[in-house]
């Protein structure tokens, strides 16, 4: 099916296909270009236009309803391309000037010899190559927007070199530290890309115009805009664009072919992996929704409790399911599309569709992880509430209450070993020094000695002198309250008073470390029984610690004198 338009030529109406019309218009345009300089040039073109109308008339008389591009092509070959028409007259003009011409020819020959004999520096060569050219984007040979191919045409080099070079620059900018080049940085949860070169390309693509008209294509290639060259472009444009693709030669072409082959192989493998993942995920999501959770499902999808979550938080589930499926489907679609289009069965995707799909994919990737984390949080809340034991499936020892306490108080468990698996292995309650049995504190009991437990809290502070307070107790020697600033550590061993007596009762003591020098913005403090860290023998069966409190007690001494750390 073709779009059909009506044109008026010399007072006659003709039905003509749109592409045929375009070709005709270009033909007449190039005739204008070539005859424009001659005396009465416009008249000649008008005469030829009248002739075209006459030939169209003949076609209509033969019963042609709409003029097709083939008809126009026939007419162009019949009437002749611009250079065939002007050649005649030019020859006669040339004969008159024959003597002058031979002189100028010899001149130009000697000029050429001169230039080839003189040593050309790189810049001279570049200048010579770019002379008389205009920088355009090249529509005839493009991978994305034809920017690099435009540069290649401008410098008279092969586009493949530009592409490889640009790709290398892009890769290098991500691995080698070029502070200047790290202008733009795309970052997410899972990828970091130095996008300077991507942005540069986009800017160039926006700034540089596309060589659209035959005249611009000639300017891009640095050919003189003559009737002949114009006609070549006009007639050539109908032929497939493959011909104008940069022919890559020799080693480079082999290299590119190998690269292309490897790329296709990787694409196929990635495609298969994506397909398998997609089927597994889609299948397990369906099972999770219909049959319900089952531990044998892959990717721990059962952990997300999709069926329950879909009732309480449907949007989180919809977004997660849609984005996770799309995150697999889009690249899969892209790869399949590319493989089919390489085999020539379908057209390659247009640039805008590529960009659109990439954007959708990026959006999906940015929504997969937040929605996944959200669903995980939902699940852990659910476990806290409904099924504390279930929670151990992923962290075999920490109970919901432990985790809650650590989270509330900003502690992190950095090391643990030999801890007895009771209801709450890392915290306890019932023996708090005030007698409030509900208050929870850090606490662990060794299943076998040594008890290894190292928990710390990181705090962001202003530099200065600090005081750390806490309340702790221990069964034996080895538990230590610590504060770390950079590589410097301050330790305060917890008195081994057991669970009776002590200054505060139930074995608890208040420990205060004063004058901790904090000359940076971070401090970590907490409790440790790890001999590799504390350098003390560790004999304790259990310990308890809580009520950590860091206060700023003064500025750092301006003269840099050392203030001794004191323990109370």
């Amino acid at each position: 099916m073709k779009k059909n338009i009506t044109i008026n030529m010399c007072g006659r109406l003709f039905q003509i296909d749109e592409d045929a019309y375009e070709l005709l218009q270009k033909y007449l345009e190039s005739l204008h270009q070539s005859f424009g300089k001659l005396e009465d040039g416009e008249e000649i073109v008008d005469d030829i236009e009248a002739r075209v109308a006459e030939l169209f008339d003949e076609l209509c008389a033969q019963g042609v309803v709409a003029i097709t591009i083939e008809h126009v092509e026939d007419i162009i070959t019949r009437i002749g391309k611009p250079e065939e028409l002007t050649g005649n007259d030019e020859e006669q003009a040339n004969e008159k000037k024959a003597d002058n011409n031979t002189e100028s020819q010899t001149n130009s020959q000697t000029n050429q010899e001169n230039t080839t004999h003189t040593d050309q520096s790189f810049f001279d060569e570049m200048r010579a190559r770019t002379a008389g050219k205009t920088l355009y984007r090249n529509p005839c040979d493009k991978m994305v927007a034809g920017v690099l191919s435009g540069f290649a045409a401008y410098t008279g080099t092969d586009a493949a070199w530009w592409r490889i070079g640009y790709a290398l620059l892009f890769v290098a900018s991500n691995f080698i530290v070029f502070p200047v080049l790290k202008l733009v940085h795309l970052g997410g949860f899972f990828f970091h890309v130095n996008a300077t070169f991507i942005l540069l390309y986009i800017i160039l693509a926006l700034v540089l115009p596309v060589a659209k008209t035959p005249k611009q294509i000639l300017e891009m290639q640095g050919k003189d805009v003559t009737p002949q060259s114009l006609a070549d472009v006009v007639i050539e444009e109908k032929t497939p664009k493959m011909q104008t693709k940069s022919a890559t030669h020799g080693v480079l072409s082999v290299f590119l072919q190998v690269l292309m082959g490897l790329f296709m192989a990787v694409a196929v493998i990635v495609g298969l992996v994506l397909l398998v993942c997609f089927v597994l995920i889609a299948g397990s999501i369906i099972v999770a929704f219909t049959v319900g959770n089952h531990y044998s499902l892959p990717f721990d999808i059962d952990y997300l409790n999709l069926r329950e979550a879909a009732v309480s938080h449907p949007w989180a589930v919809y977004i997660f399911v849609a984005s996770v499926l799309m995150a697999f489907l889009i690249p899969l679609y892209g790869i399949v599309h590319m493989l089919i289009s390489k085999s020539g069965k379908i057209q390659p995707m247009s640039t805008w569709r590529r960009i659109l799909w990439s954007l959708i994919w990026v959006v999906c990737m940015f929504s997969v992880f937040p929605s996944l984390f959200y669903l995980q949080d939902l699940r852990s809340e659910y476990d806290h509430r409904e099924n504390p034991e279930m929670y151990r499936r992923h962290d075999p020892l920490m109970s919901a209450a432990d985790k809650h306490f650590f989270k509330e108080n900003g502690f992190r468990l950095m090391k643990h070993k030999n801890i007895i698996n009771r209801t709450n292995p890392y915290t306890s309650n019932g023996e708090y020094y005030t007698g409030d049995e509900q208050v929870r504190y850090l606490d662990a009991y060794a299943a076998e000695k040594p008890l290894i437990y190292h928990a710390g809290r990181k705090e962001r502070v202003e530099p200065g002198l600090y005081q750390l307070e806490c309340v702790a107790r221990a069964e034996g020697k080895g538990a230590v309250i610590f504060a770390s600033v950079g590589r410097r550590n301050v330790f305060y061993p917890v008195p081994a008073l057991g669970n009776e007596g002590g200054p505060l009762g139930n074995g608890w003591s208040k420990l205060v470390i004063k004058n901790i020098k904090v000359d940076r913005h971070n401090i970590i403090y907490g409790v440790s029984t790890d001999p590799q860290f504390t350098w003390t023998d560790n004999e304790t069966q259990w310990f308890s610690a809580t009520d950590f409190k860091l206060t700023r007690i003064g500025d750092l001494p301006a003269d840099g004198t050392d203030v001794p750390v004191t323990y109370e």
């Binding site: 010399c10 006659r12 000649i44 005469d47 002739r51 006459e54 028409l85 005649n88």
Partner: protein, 116 residues
Amino acid sequence: MNIENAKSQMRKGMLEYCVLLLLKHRPSYASDIILQLKQAELLVVEGTLYPLLTRLKNDGLLEYQWQESTQGPPRKYYALSPEGEKFLEGLDAAWAELSNTINYLQTITPKLLEAK
């Protein structure tokens, strides 16, 4: 040097003379001339004629008149101007001379060679 090329050079040289000859007895419009030249196999691409006609007109050898046509838009009917007629006479003489020379060369040369 191929034969087609040589032939086309000959045709090109004669085209001007042929057009003037065709217009000697009756005015014609471009498509008429094209038809006749094509029948005589003197014209390969039609478009060549238009610059030629315009040039002859600008040189004052041809004149044209617009005439209504029954089938389409008005047509330009070209005819020889008095100057053109004089020019054609000159060309006739030149052609007769040229033709004689060619004939002479075609027939006489072998005999000359024999004589030697």
